[in-house]
Symmetry: C2
Subunit: 140 residues, 2 copies
DNA sequence: TTTGCTAATGAAAATCATTTTCAATAAGTA
DNA sequence: TACTTATTGAAAATGATTTTCATTAGCAAA
């Protein structure tokens, strides 16, 4: 998924392509870790001085609405965003540098069926997130 | 786990037992769903008019520090707290009424080992949360 | 191209959640 | 009972996010 595709998506959904949006999209899309609005602002402003923080918020909002990015929940805060995985994927986060990896193939069917039976709940969704240390941050 | 035990825990950790704390503890402990600080404040103030919102924040902070409550992350916000499960447990949330059920017995060893191998991450923690409809809210 | 409509922008103000400050109060120990 | 000091609530401060608004610029149509 490249920044170009995100911009196309925005355009196809009736949003105009502006310099501010291009920079925000590029910044978020190329990041290997989740970024908060302020972080996006600080990084993006190095390339586009006039950028306003409000525009960062507004652009993130639209990207989330189009499912191009997703909010990342972490122990220290839940305001950061990362590009959304394709299909059914979950996140694996490095507790040291924040680097994000996606994974898929989790099969929780047996578990959810058993829990549904025990609790009487009708289960329709799950959140799964792994934490650890990436190859770079792992002790030798 | 009863409110009495929470109060004892607070006391044993050097915190004084005050009316404000008693009401906050009772409110959070008896709730079947996660409550935000404002919700705790509104409910608790029905029994203790003079309660200040700041005290709610401060008490929740201490209860979390003693692992008696835990923060609950949800799509609409991450400021709510619920009494903490005992041992290794996860949450199952009703998307309609917010009722919380705990479950345990998830075994993610096979999955995490496989993901660790694939990604090179050293995995040490996981977040798992199920969503659905509780027995009361489920369609017939 | 140029034009015209209006979505998008950034600054400033407003709002909302949370934290800090502070003087008064009350818990708990001696 | 008296004393020490943690705790309280009000108010102010802070920080994040949203709203307002006048100006600018994207882009579709001429
Ligand atoms: Mn899954
Ligand atoms: Mn588990
Ligand atoms: Zn790392
Ligand atoms: Zn329910």
């Amino acid at each position: 998924m490249s920044a170009e595709i995100w911009l196309t998506q925005l355009h196809e959904n009736g949003y105009r392509l502006t310099d501010a949006r291009r920079i925000v999209v590029e910044t978020v899309e190329k990041s290997a870790r989740a970024l908060t609005p302020i972080e996006v602002y600080d990084i993006a402003r190095k390339k586009y001085r006039a950028l306003g923080l409000v525009t960062v918020y507004r652009t993130l909002e639209k990207l989330e609405e189009l499912h191009l990015i997703q909010r990342v929940h972490q122990p220290l805060g839940c305001q950061a965003f990362i590009s959304a995985g394709e299909g059914h994927q979950h996140l694996l986060l490095c507790q040291n540098c924040g680097q994000v990896a996606f994974f898929e193939g989790d099969d929780l069917d047996v578990l959810t069926k058993s829990i549904a039976k025990k609790t009487g709940y009708q289960i329709s969704e799950h959140w799964l997130q792994l934490f650890g240390l990436c190859a770079d941050c792992r002790p030798i």
